[in-house]
Symmetry: C2
Subunit: 503 residues, 2 copies
């Protein structure tokens, strides 16, 4: 199996296949013939001291030499071969976690060892995207119980790095999301850090939304910091707001998010494991979780919030975290903007005290910062809100935010996408409700978050009176194609805003 | 959106990506820039009167011209562009069935319209492999109820062709599988057709096993017939044994099987929909289902068989099929061979009356043929078994089988793979049990069914006495690599055969 018919020269294919590594071999090459490889076979590739499992695509014409295998960009990065490198190809042993995956698909409970095997194979790229999709689906809805959620959380922490901040309190906050434009994190971090507390915040990019906090933050400062850089920023400024993907905290979560994104769903068990594994790995001790509740938010009812809160509390206790939970209004967007740049503009307007800045975003950020200051050890009772307001009012929070941006690599003003068109009200009346999901979808179709300047600018709120023909919101897009695409969908959904004819 | 920046010349990439169409574009081409396409974006491609949805892979070097898009083999076949063709690229509208998929993932019931939308998007390639994996997983276990199984079956029939045989009875049989080597179908078809009944059998290739009936049949005669050719064979010889993939009966099922295969699981609801949709589409009126039961067969207990039988009966009744069910012994393989050629050899030996032919395969085929003859309209009570035996004994079944092979395109003798090595008993004693799944896995690792001559030859049965060092079975493989790989796994699993030390 290790003879000449299992070796090929390596070259770079120059093809971007996103996360999943692909290896290209000629149909008639010695390796395909000897090993019985065909298209989509999973192949173990070893070169130097590295190895990876890749998916095979078979080249059927003479664009690839018989003695050569080409690697997609992800495969090239994973294997990192030297010049003139060769690789040895073989069948990978079946992933050790395959029986656990099968058991979960058929509704059996998994224990912590099962999850550990699954998460190890996930970060080692031993599970295909199809297998990962099956795992994510098998854990959806109520299919993970509390004990399994704890097991999955522990497993996610185990297969990644974990920061030790030494002694002292480490604060953190997280919003379970589902509410477009709800970008309180940069404000809360700035206020809490300005108050002198340590708050090393790692955020995700969007999973199923038009912008994650990392996407929004990235239009103002670099966020792809590694662990050493993150530590330096926090030691200097008390806080940071970076993307979690480069610090190796819960890397399994990053892979699962890559699968959940095209599927456009996530679930309680995975949500809790995702959030709390990141917090534990980040070395946090006190965590505030913001749960917006509304008919089209991620959490739709108090009953759903109860279930999620129960799962969060049980898991946090098992992981040794102090947890506070804030339930907030999730009926409509927060701030004006939906999309990275549009949300960043709102954040900066609040920090800068611009009179036109969105009041709802400002109030909510102060509430959350206050609640977080209140659970910190040594805080007086209910003093946090006033302290937060003072730090925002005085400009201390703005100075802290800009200092954090500088420490992360430099602040820059965000720039909106050039193509803009309004969506008009088709009838007159009072706004009774907003479908957050379809509004977010319009922003996504306009290009957010891949086009950071794209999205929605919406200043209408529940209770406002509209006249037919007036703009309800504006769509921003980077290209005419994306603008058309978003507006076409918007036109087909005239009831995203419920407009009543009563008073 | 239809300007110059949405059009590219088409060329053939010469890359086999199996079922899923892939389109390659340069990172800097006008289409990627105008539409905001990135790696793994789903892209709508229109050329001439055809369109398809493909997955984008992004070329990052100069191997592809900026004005050109390259198509993978599956994409090239789906679009079938003329010479010098151009295509227009845009964002596809989200699949209409996405809300139904999401609902099912979160445990809601689907109705027939939901399934119809899902199956239409499945055959139109509007769902990605990740979405299909989520669907298959969301339907696994007990997650489809009876009414949903009926809805899925009807939907699968609706999106494919359906044969009308005019008046008269149309018999059919199916084995739910899970038992290596259990290749009774060619024998049953030959006997029943020799008895003068119409039996147009379509079979699948292997889903999770080392050989499907179509794989086994293909080593003796062509099986990739289209609908017209199938009709001609059946009108001439009463029966056929062909691969179902070219006749367009339940094409959605073929796509789902392509996803279930790498996942290595399938489930009751999908199994019933898969089997019965094929039967309804084939125009069958009377169907016998063989359910082997054993601790490592697909159906492991009488309780599991009860559940499956209930689901089959309810669905068959809704679809207007007369159904008979035969429960058979599923504790160990049937016949000597596991793998296409090895199983074909057993079938031919039984038909030819070779004294050394496997008795268990012969007896089981006669039982099933007899049961099928008994449910045909006009049959006397319990006369089928004797009639079947007479037709086999007289050579009428062999003549009919060879005539069917000739009508399908010509009979040829199957050829075994050249590399053979025995696996030896590690201890002496009496064989108490066999792990069918791990035995099948060894045959798969040896290369079956992709290498048709590969697999296992095993003449040991439960109750036989073995001495340490005696061969339990022989492994056949096409290449030394595959032989090593299978033997390595076999060596790591010394308890595939349970050998007791009692009498």
């Amino acid at each position: 199996m290790n003879g000449a018919h299992s070796r090929l020269r390596l070259e770079r294919a120059g093809i971007d296949t996103y996360r999943q590594p692909v290896v290209y071999m000629h149909r008639d090459c010695a390796v395909c013939r000897a090993e019985g490889f065909a298209a989509l076979t999973r192949v173990l590739v070893r070169s130097g001291h590295r190895e990876m499992v890749a998916t095979l695509n078979v080249v059927t014409d003479d664009r690839l030499a018989l003695d050569t295998a080409a690697l997609s960009e992800a495969a090239w990065k994973a294997l990192d071969p030297g010049p003139d490198a060769w690789a040895v190809f073989s069948h990978p042993s079946p992933p050790a976690s395959a029986p656990a995956l099968r058991a979960k698909v058929f509704g059996q409970r998994l224990d912590e060892q099962d999850f550990l095997g699954l998460m190890r194979d996930t970060v080692d790229n031993r599970l295909s995207d199809i297998e990962l999709a099956a795992f994510v689906t098998a854990c959806a809805g109520e299919r993970l119980d509390h004990q399994e959620t704890i097991g999955l959380t522990r497993a996610m922490v185990s297969v990644g790095q974990r920061i030790d901040w030494g002694s002292g309190t480490v604060l953190d906050k997280h919003c379970v999301g589902g509410l477009p434009g709800n970008r309180t994190t940069p404000l809360v971090v700035a206020i809490v850090a300005a108050a002198g507390h340590r708050i090393p915040k790692t955020s995700s990019r969007a999973i199923t939304s038009p912008a994650g906090t990392a996407d929004t933050m990235e239009v103002m400062a670099p966020v792809a910091l590694d662990l050493a850089a993150m530590r330096r920023v926090v030691e200097q400024e008390n806080g940071c707001i970076i993307w979690g993907g480069n610090v190796g905290l819960s890397p399994a979560d990053d892979v699962l998010i890559g699968i959940e994104r095209p599927l456009d769903f996530d679930s309680d068990g995975q949500l809790v494991a995702s959030v709390l594994s990141k917090k534990v790995a980040a070395g946090s001790s006190h965590v505030l979780i913001d749960i917006p509740i509304g008919p089209t938010a991620k959490v739709r009812s108090d009953a759903a919030a109860d279930a999620l809160e129960g799962r969060l509390n049980v898991t946090a206790r098992a992981m040794g975290l102090s947890l506070a939970i804030a339930r907030t209004d999730g009926r409509q967007p927060v701030g004006y903007g939906i999309g990275p740049v549009l949300e960043a503009r709102d954040v900066l307007d609040v920090l800068r005290g611009i009179p036109d800045a969105p009041r709802d975003l400002r109030e909510r950020a102060l509430d959350l910062a206050g609640a977080l200051l209140d659970i910190a050890p040594g805080a007086g009772p209910d003093t946090g809100r006033a302290q937060a307001e003072a730090l925002l009012q005085s400009g201390a929070a703005l100075r802290k935010f800009l200092a954090i941006c500088e420490a992360q690599g430099g602040f820059h003003e965000p720039v909106l996408a050039p193509h803009v068109r309004p969506v008009l009200a088709s009838q007159s009346g009072v706004v009774k409700g907003v479908d957050n999901r379809r509004l977010a979808k319009i922003a996504k179709l306009a290009g957010a978050p891949a086009s950071p300047g794209a999205g929605i600018d919406c200043r209408i709120r529940i209770g406002d009176t509209l006249r037919a023909g007036e703009p309800i919101f504006h769509v921003h897009a980077r290209t005419p194609g994306e603008l058309d695409y978003a507006l076409e969908y918007a036109a087909s959904q005239p009831d995203v805003f419920t407009i009543g004819t009563g008073a």
